[in-house]
């Protein structure tokens, strides 16, 4: 599903350069449930961004679903993101003037699905998240856990191959963390390759593989 070969990434500023990823080799199978752990500055977010085609890399190869993801135009990148990848973020990143249903439906808008149809599908997904009653509420009327469930619904509505979650529980209390992790686990059971960046051991422990990153290199891969 995902294959990285000697991926390097350096950030340049005017005076200095920062070699963030120093040759990452990684293989993730379809349906895997993986977490990435590491201290801040270790390069784990950069790795996730490259996996999510949100950022490009300097050297190496990245194959996603047997397609080489390299030097893509913005339009192509957008199309791949829309088709293959669902994102979940720490701060939810919901659009605050759209209600829950419209937020969930947004990826389908970019797939040119009619408003009526995409809203109906969005309601279905919200129902699966147990948020049907909150469909017409704005994000700021919802709790953190609810917002993250809306974000998860949005991430999976276009039926992506992989789900990338960047600290999905970072802004949640332990109770809701538990709920969200259970949800992510259930989603993984349906066959979505799930990759979670986290620094919470409890969260990492729920995944099947934990990839430890330090100083831009994979230190070890721990199998739970």
């Amino acid at each position: 599903m995902i294959t990285l070969r000697d991926v390097n990434k350096t950030y340049y500023t005017e005076a200095t350069s920062l070699h963030v990823l120093k040759g990452i080799d990684l293989h993730i199978e379809q349906g895997d449930y993986v977490s990435i752990m590491g201290a801040s500055g270790s390069g784990k977010s950069t790795l996730l961004n490259i996996l999510g085609i949100l950022d490009n890399y300097d050297t190496g190869d990245y194959y996603l679903n047997n397609k080489l993801i390299k030097d893509l135009s913005e339009t192509q990148a957008a199309a791949y993101r829309n088709e293959m990848i669902g994102f979940v973020f720490q701060s939810f990143n919901l659009i605050n003037f759209k209600n829950a249903m419209e937020n969930v439906a947004l990826p389908l808008y970019y797939k040119n699905i009619s408003r009526k149809k995409r809203n109906a599908i969005a309601l279905e997904y919200l129902d699966r998240m147990g948020l049907k009653d909150w469909a017409y509420h704005l994000p700021n009327e919802m709790s953190g856990g609810q917002k993250q469930r809306v974000a998860i619904a949005r991430a999976i509505i276009s039926q992506p191959k992989i789900l990338l979650a960047d600290e999905p529980t970072g802004a949640l209390d332990s109770q809701t963390t538990e709920e969200v992790m259970q949800l992510l686990g259930e989603l993984n059971q349906t066959g979505i390759t799930t990759i979670i960046v986290t620094h919470e051991k409890a969260v990492a422990d729920e995944t099947r593989k934990v990839i430890h990153i330090k100083d831009g290199l994979i230190q070890n891969i721990q199998h739970n």
Binding site: T75, I95, F97, Y110, N112
Partner: protein
């Protein structure tokens, strides 16, 4: 190409960010409103000017005698002279460029110079030829104007102004055939006139009594004097030309020094009218410059606020990009929002402006004002809308480009 869903999305974004949208739109709204008001006011001024001059031959000049200021051929300066009947055929023969030539007499000052039975009034008395009606046109409410037979037979007939008729006969009464006493002599009313132009020679037309030129000259012992000569030039000839030729002939005829500039008085309506015309054009140009400037400033305002907005919406745009929006979709959205905002604001400004103009027009039509019918033409409205559309696109372009440069990763990066 029309995609209802896309427009719904754009409308939704505009609607759910009300204060932002309103602020963005206000500049354009105001610009458009001002433009419409100014263009309307300009056209009102133009209409007013045109209706003032309407019915008055703009290719005309007027010549009258004054004291000489130079000694010539043994005559000392300061001599009084007068235009005389004999000059008229000489002028007609000597200046072929004259279209209409009309000698004019003024007379009869004094209180209550026009009397009918127990009613009387003080009015302007003029002696005219039929051709004068070609220069300062009158609308005949009743009867006819003075004709050639009146002149030839020196008939005691008169055309009275509308106001004169009201005073002497009452409103809505046809006085044709009745007699009035003008400065002690009875004249038969043959017509009631209303002057079309607001430019009247020798007093307002409504308050004037016009007698046949020849009758007036004889009845009131005026000899062969002519007070005034009115003349128009044939099409294609500048009035200045006939004015100079008339002066030349008169000077020669009356032994006036060719260099004497003040002996013959006169004015040239064409020159005045041309000045009016240039004034009107000047005002119109000024209005468009200022109006377009205001619109342009409004457009800059839109662009500016859209720029701020794009900055403010960095995160939203980043999210949209992460969810699969292509740069083109984003650009299209920003430009579309800009166009929709400018158009709505512009049309609102246009409608309010037009509404205000018609309201002012209604008020003005009740009064006798120099401003008349303030309005803008359909073409002007269409042109301004097209300008608006262009402004909308241009205003959206800069912020859209800015939005393009936002990488999704930068936009959604955690604080």
């Amino acid at each position: 190409m029309f995609d209802l869903d896309r427009w719904q999305e754009i409308w939704y974004t505009i609607k759910h960010n009300k204060s932002r949208s309103v602020m963005t739109a206000f500049g354009v709204f105001w610009g458009m409103f001002m433009l419409v008001c100014m263009v309307g006011a300009g056209s009102a001024l133009k209409n007013g000017m045109e209706s003032t001059i309407d019915g008055f031959a703009t290719n005309s000049c007027f010549v009258y005698d004054q004291q000489t200021t130079e000694p010539y051929k043994g005559f000392k300066k300061g001599r009084n002279w007068s235009i005389q009947n004999e000059d008229i055929p000489l002028l007609q023969q000597g200046v072929p460029e004259i279209q209409y030539l009309a000698p004019v007499l003024f007379g009869g000052q004094g209180a209550n110079n026009v009397v009918r039975k127990d009613k009387s009034g003080t009015f302007n008395i003029k002696g005219n030829y039929p051709s004068y009606n070609k220069i300062e046109e009158n609308k005949l409410i009743y009867g006819r104007y003075i004709n050639d037979i009146d002149i030839a037979e020196k008939r005691k007939t008169c055309v009275i102004g509308e106001r004169v008729s009201e005073v002497l006969f009452g409103k809505n009464v046809n006085p044709v055939g009745q007699n009035v006493k003008v400065m002690g002599i009875y004249f038969q009313v043959i017509g009631v006139a209303r002057s079309i132009s607001q430019v009247n020679l020798g007093g307002r037309g409504e308050e004037s009594v016009v007698l046949p030129f020849t009758t007036m000259q004889q009845a009131f012992n005026m000899g062969n004097k002519v007070h005034f000569i009115a003349a128009t030039a044939i099409p294609g000839v500048r009035v200045k030309v006939i004015e100079e030729k008339i002066n030349q002939i008169l000077k020669k005829q009356h032994n006036i020094a060719p260099t004497d500039k003040a002996a013959i008085g006169g004015f040239n309506i064409e020159e005045q009218f041309t000045m009016f015309l240039y004034l009107g054009i000047g005002i119109a140009v000024l209005i468009w410059i200022v109006g377009a400037g205001t619109l342009f400033a409004g457009g800059i305002g839109v662009s500016n606020i859209m720029l701020v907005t794009v900055r403010e919406r960095t995160k939203e745009i980043g999210i949209r990009r992460a969810l699969g929006a292509t740069p083109r979709t984003i650009i299209r959205q920003i430009i579309s929002e800009s166009i929709v905002l400018t158009l709505i604001a512009g049309i609102a400004g246009l409608m309010l402006g037009v509404g205000l103009l018609s309201l002012v027009g209604m008020v003005l039509s009740q009064s006798d004002s120099f401003f008349q019918e303030p309005q803008i033409s359909f073409a002007v409205a269409i042109v301004s809308l097209v300008i608006l559309l262009v402004i909308g696109i241009l205003a959206g372009l800069v912020p859209a480009n800015r939005a393009m440069t936002i990488k999704p990763i930068e936009a959604i990066r955690e604080e």
